[in-house]
Symmetry: C3
Subunit: 218 residues, 3 copies
């Protein structure tokens, strides 16, 4: 991809999106753990797991040691998000379901769909590989957090959650074909993901099931 104005303005799209995603998802994961009355180590683990699990899976899929284990910056951002969650839990009644947390989750989802698409493109996988790694990077943290919290992974029950990352990853691939800069592709991917997610939350969108499509009755 060539450089353009938006690309230059945006600097290193991976670093920007990674910073946003780590902080937002650590906040959301720790908020879930606080709700379940986990102890301090437990909420740090759930917060860091939510922040790091998607990216670590992404890194393993392109066979490299996870960045979270190599860079002191990643752990600092994760702990910042956990600290924000503890602060929020003091000032808010039920932070896990507060709009602040829902928006942070949508922003983290979009940021990590974008980092996934960037790393996958650099690794030279197929178009499906780009969409799959973008989606895994985006939803992996939430799935692992839910497993640690002993809940069924809500990414399968929230109709427009993983779907938003799928659309964002596909958008990244499509605009990449058009020859835009990596910065522009990152912005498009993030906006498509966070936009569809927030609209879906506000309007309570859901996908059809085989049953509601009227194809069969149970």
């Amino acid at each position: 991809m060539s450089q353009d104005a938006l690309g230059l303005l945006f600097g290193d799209p991976f670093a920007v999106m990674n910073t946003i995603g780590l902080t937002a998802f650590a906040l959301v994961g720790a908020s879930k753990a606080i709700r379940e009355e986990f102890d301090l180590l437990g909420l740090i683990i759930v917060g860091l797991a939510m922040a790091f699990a998607g990216g670590a899976t992404r890194d393993l899929l392109v066979t490299r040691t996870p960045l979270a284990l190599q860079s002191p910056i990643e752990i600092s951002l994760g702990l910042l998000g956990v600290g924000l969650a503890i602060a929020l839990s003091i000032v808010l009644e039920s932070p896990e379901t507060h709009p602040v947390t829902l928006v942070a989750d949508a922003i983290g989802l979009a940021a990590f769909a974008t980092t996934g698409a960037i790393v996958a493109t650099e690794a030279g996988v197929s178009a499906f590989g780009i969409v799959a790694i973008a989606t895994i990077n985006a939803v992996g943290g939430g799935a692992v957090a839910d497993i640690l919290l002993d809940r069924p992974p809500f990414i399968l029950f929230e109709d427009f959650y993983a779907s938003c990352a799928v659309l964002g990853g596909a958008a990244y691939w499509v605009v990449g074909l058009l020859g835009v800069s990596a910065g522009t592709a990152a912005v498009v991917c993030a906006l498509v993901t966070v936009g569809t997610r927030l609209v879906a939350v506000v309007f309570d969108w859901s996908l059809p099931t085989v049953q509601t499509l009227g194809l069969r009755s149970d």
Copy 2:
């Protein structure tokens, strides 16, 4: 392994077994998700997870990027299996427990035990490594599908399920020692796995527990 008649007839054993396994397991995984009334994206995810999780784990264990993210053929076969599951759900009453699905599951188990044994042998792991990777390739998809469906992994409760893949992987290793072709070893592995699995289903075989062996009473 040298080439022989069966080996030549069979062409590329990995490609044949991989094609069968991906289609069969995507069908079985999507059928389980339809039974649980998952939405369309959810059943695609469960179907693809069941088709890809075992092979992706196998690829990570031999430290390479999963084939499913590199080859457009893999995703096409997975979606074909999901499509077959939707078609079956329209014509059958309870497809998840129908003999068609049980047989598809046994065939997928055998096909993936074989691909696992082939990849492990090429990677030069130990005899235990061959059996372990064959088994993980065979049962990994079902285990991940059950976790996504929030069920206890049935591979631990079906007595002759993982056992069949263990026997198939061991058979692959033993006939490999005898110097047969890769094609012959693949056929032996697949037949041992699918044969023991179908006989176990028909005769309702079960393994002893420490309790039923009379070693202790609880």
Copy 3:
């Protein structure tokens, strides 16, 4: 790290700790599965999963094929632990909660925190990476065993379990900075981990939650 008396006495710290950890964790995992009346294959799988899952995750994080798939010694030690669990289940009333099993679990935890710290240090990750890989190596097996047993991972509910491995990994890193031998660092890591774990069990230590700290009331 330079060689000193303790380092020479201890030989290969990784091999010593790995042998102890594999046997102890296979014993604990198989004991849990016997308690749940799993069949023989099931308890072998849970025992081996508990013995191997942490180390396999560690190896994947530093991008190498898990040792358990390459070395026949690892599988032998795992099966030895499973055999010990079956023997214990015959002579003891409830082996899963017997002091023998609790001590074996603490020893396995300490041994695997140490192998994790050794491998991470050799791989050249950050200080957080050393602590994280030590902790994952130590608690990964128990977490996977609990998931296979369809229990919530107890590592999140036992307050001083993962914490002990965190402390051990941190101790390994700190004494490493002081320039001691790998053998001495391994002994320090193992003693810190097993010591804090056993003291925590005896005195029933627990960490504070956000609620018990009085920061908020639910």
